[in-house]
Amino acid sequence: MQRDWPDLLGGLTMAAIGAAAAGWALAHYDLGTLRQMGPGFFPTLLGVTLVGLGLIVALPALRRAGAAPKLELGVVLAVLGAILIFGFGLRPLGLAGATALSVLVATIPALKPGWRWRIALSVAVSVMTVVVFSFGLQMTLPVWPRLP
C-alpha cells in the first residue's frame, strides 16, 4: 500500500517528542498558574501543541502516496564518523593526525574514484589546519599524536 512515509514518520516522531517533553515537564517541573507560570508551563504547552501538530501531519499521510526520498546512508555514516573521529581523536592523535584521519574517512563516499587524491587532500587539509589554527590563530591544541 502506498503511503507518504516522510510525512508519516516525521509527524509521528514530532508527536512522540512532544508527548515525551510534556510528560517529563509535568512529572518534574511545577506547572504554576496562568498568573504565576511555573517552569513547567511553557514546555507542557509546547509539548501538547507538538503532539497535535505531529498528528495533523501524520494522519492524512496514511492514505496518500508520497515520494520516497533517497537516504544516503553511506554518506551519513562517513560524515558523522569523520566528525566523531575528529572530536574524540583530537587529544590522542593531535590536530594533524585527527584532521588527516577525519578527512580520509569523509572522502569515502565521494563519487570520484581513486585513492591518490584522497591521501593528497588529507595531507593538504592537515597542513592547512595546523598552519591556520595552531600557528596562525594560536589555538592551544596538541598538534602531534601523544606518544605512549
Partner: protein, 498 residues
C-alpha cells in the same frame, strides 16, 4: 543624534581599518558562498559564529551582515549561468537569467543582477534609517503582551506564508521553541531537560545547533549530488555592457522591486525569498508583453534581484530596534549579539550608536565594495563554480569541528554537532524546515519571558492581548493568517478531489 550626524558618525566608525577589514571579509566570503550552489548564507554565518567570540560585537555584526547581503550578490551568478540557485533568494533569477545566458547575454544578465542588487540595497538603507528611528520611538509604547504577540505573529507568518504545508512549519517552530527551553530557567532557576548534563546548563549551544542544522546537514545532502555542469562561458568586461534599451527596461522594475522588498523585509516572518518571488510575479502581471517572461526578459532579473537585496537590509530594522528577528537569518544575527551580551531593543540607537549607525554605514560601504569588486572579478567567481565539491566538503567538516571546539573546548559539543547534523539531514529529507526550527529556538526564551510577564501584570487575564491596541492588532493579524492558510488548504483539497 540626527540622521545626518548618525550617518557621519557611522561612517567614521565603519571606515576604521579594522572594521573595514571585517566588512570586506564578510562581503567576499558572502559572495563566495552565494556563488556556490548548496552552501547558503545560513551555513556560512553559522561557520563564522565562533570567530565572532574574538572580535567586538559591532565588528561581528558588520561581518555577518556582509556575508548575508554578499550572498545575495553571489547567488545570482549560479542562477544565471547554471540554472542552479546559489541561494534560495535567487531562485527566481533562474527563470529569466538562464534564458538570457542561453541567448549569449550572460554578461548583461550578471551586470543587471549586480547593479539592481546595489540599487535595491541603497533603497533599503534609506528605508532602514527612516524605519529604525520611527520603530524605536514607537517601541517605547510596547509592553510584554505586545512583544509576545508580535513574536508569535512572526512565527505564524514564517510558517504559513509561501508554503503549502503550514502544519509542518508549525511543528518545526514548536520543536524549536521546546529546544529553547533546555537549560536553566531564568525565572525560577530550575534546570529543564538537562538530564544531569552540566554541558546543557546554559542551554543548547547556538553554534552547535546552527552548524549541525546548516553546515553538516548541507554537506551530507550535497556529497553525492551528480557532478555539477561545467561552466563554459567566457566573460570579459565588455560582455557585461548592457545596451541602452536594457537600461531603459531595468529602471522601473528595479524601483518597484526595491520598494516591495523594503516593505516585506521589515515585516516579521516574510523575508527576502518571498520578496523576490512577489516582485517577479508583479513584473509579469503588469508587463505589456508578459509572454517575454521566462524567455530572457531583463525585467525578470532586475525586479527580484533589487527586491531581495532591499529586503535583506530592511530586515535589520525590527531585529535591532525591537530585538525581534523576522526570519531565521536575523535570528542567527540576534543570537550572535546575545552571545556578546548585547540585547538589541528600543534603546540601542541611543545606548550603542556605533552598533546601529556603524552597521548602516557598513551597508553602504559593503555594497559599494561588492559593486566595484564584483564586476571586474566576475571571471574569478565563475571559476569558483569549477571547484569540485569533493575537494571542499572534508575541509568544511574539519572547520565545523574546530569552530565548535573553539567556543567551549568541549568534546560534548562536537558530538552534539554530529547528532544535530543527522537530525537536520533527516528533517530536510522529509521536507521539514530546519530554518524554522532555528527561528523558534532563538525566539523561545524571549516569548516565554514576555508571556509570563504579560500574564503576571494582567493577573492571569488573557484579555490583555485584546485590550491593548498594539497586541490586539497583532492578534488580529495572526487570526487572519490562520484563516487564510486554512482556506487555502481547504481549496487545495477541493481541487484535488475535483
Amino acid at each position: 543624534m540626527t540622521t545626518w550626524e548618525g550617518l557621519l558618525f557611522g561612517l567614521g566608525f565603519a571606515l576604521q581599518p579594522e572594521v573595514l577589514v571585517y566588512c570586506l571579509l564578510g562581503v567576499v566570503l558572502g559572495t563566495f558562498v552565494g556563488v556556490l550552489p548548496g552552501i547558503g548564507a545560513m551555513a556560512a554565518i553559522s561557520l563564522l559564529l565562533p570567530i565572532t567570540y574574538y572580535i567586538t560585537p559591532e565588528a561581528a555584526l558588520i561581518m555577518l551582515a556582509g556575508v548575508y547581503y554578499g550572498a545575495q550578490y553571489g547567488g545570482a551568478v549560479a542562477s544565471i549561468l547554471l540554472r542552479l540557485p546559489g541561494t534560495p533568494q535567487s531562485a527566481v533569477t533562474t527563470l529569466d537569467g538562464y534564458p538570457m545566458a542561453r541567448d549569449g547575454r550572460a554578461g548583461v544578465a550578471l551586470f543587471t543582477a549586480m547593479v539592481t542588487s546595489f540599487a535595491g540595497s541603497v533603497f533599503g538603507i534609506v528605508v532602514l534609517v527612516m524605519l529604525a528611528g520611527w520603530l524605536s520611538r514607537a517601541a517605547v509604547a510596547f509592553g510584554s503582551a505586545d512583544y509576545a504577540a508580535m513574536m508569535i505573529l512572526g512565527l505564524v507568518a514564517a510558517s504559513t506564508i509561501g508554503t503549502s504545508r503550514p502544519a509542518k512549519g508549525f511543528a518545526m517552530v514548536a520543536l524549536g521553541l521546546l529546544l529553547g527551553c533546555v537549560g536553566t530557567d531564568v525565572n525560577s532557576g530550575v534546570q529543564r531537560f538537562t538530564f544531569g548534563q552540566t554541558e546543557l546548563l546554559d542551554g543548547i549551544n547556538l553554534v552547535a545547533l546552527a552548524m549541525g542544522l546548516f553546515g553538516v546537514a548541507e554537506v551530507i545532502a550535497n556529497v553525492r549530488d551528480p557532478d555539477r555542469q561545467k561552466v563554459t562561458e567566457r566573460l570579459g568586461l565588455r560582455s557585461l555592457m548592457p545596451m541602452w534599451d536594457d537600461l531603459r527596461r531595468m529602471f522601473w522594475p528595479t524601483l518597484r522591486g526595491s520598494a516591495l522588498g523594503s516593505f516585506f523585509g521589515a515585516l516579521p516572518g516574510t523575508g527576502s525569498t518571498l520578496s523576490s518571488f512577489l516582485s517577479y510575479s508583479m513584473e509579469r502581471r503588469i508587463a505589456r508583453q508578459p509572454e517575454r517572461f521566462g524567455k530572457g526578459a531583463i525585467e525578470g532579473v532586475a525586479g527580484p534581484e533589487a527586491a531581495n537585496n532591499a529586503a535583506a537590509i530592511t530586515a535589520f530594522a525590527p531585529t535591532l530596534t525591537l530585538g525581534i528577528p523576522g526570519d531565521p537569518i536575523m535570528a542567527l544575527m540576534l543570537g550572535a549579539l546575545v552571545i556578546h551580551g548585547v540585547q538589541p531593543g528600543p534603546m540601542m540607537l541611543e545606548a550603542r550608536p556605533e552598533m546601529f549607525w556603524g552597521l548602516v554605514a557598513s551597508f553602504g560601504i559593503g555594497n559599494l565594495l561588492l559593486l566595484i569588486l564584483n564586476l571586474p572579478l566576475i571571471g574569478i567567481w565563475v571559476a569558483m563554480l569549477r571547484i569540485p565539491f569533493h575537494l571542499m566538503y572534508p575541509a568544511i567538516l574539519v572547520f565545523i569541528c574546530l569552530g565548535v571546539l573553539s567556543v567551549r573546548g568541549l568534546t560534548f559539543d562536537v558530538v552534539a554537532v554530529a547528532g544535530i547534523g543527522l537530525a537536520g539531514y533527516l528533517l530536510t529529507l522529509a521536507k521539514f524546515s530546519p530554518a524554522l526550527l532555528l527561528l523558534g529556538f532563538v525566539l523561545g526564551p524571549l516569548i516565554e519571558t514576555n508571556l509570563r510577564r504579560a500574564f503576571l501584570i494582567s493577573r492571569g487575564d488573557p484579555m490583555v492581548f485584546l485590550e491593548r491596541p498594539i497586541a490586539a492588532g497583532f492578534v488580529m493579524a495572526i487570526c487572519a493568517l490562520l484563516v487564510l492558510s486554512l482556506w487555502q488548504a481547504w481549496r487545495r483539497r477541493a481541487d484535488d478531489s475535483a
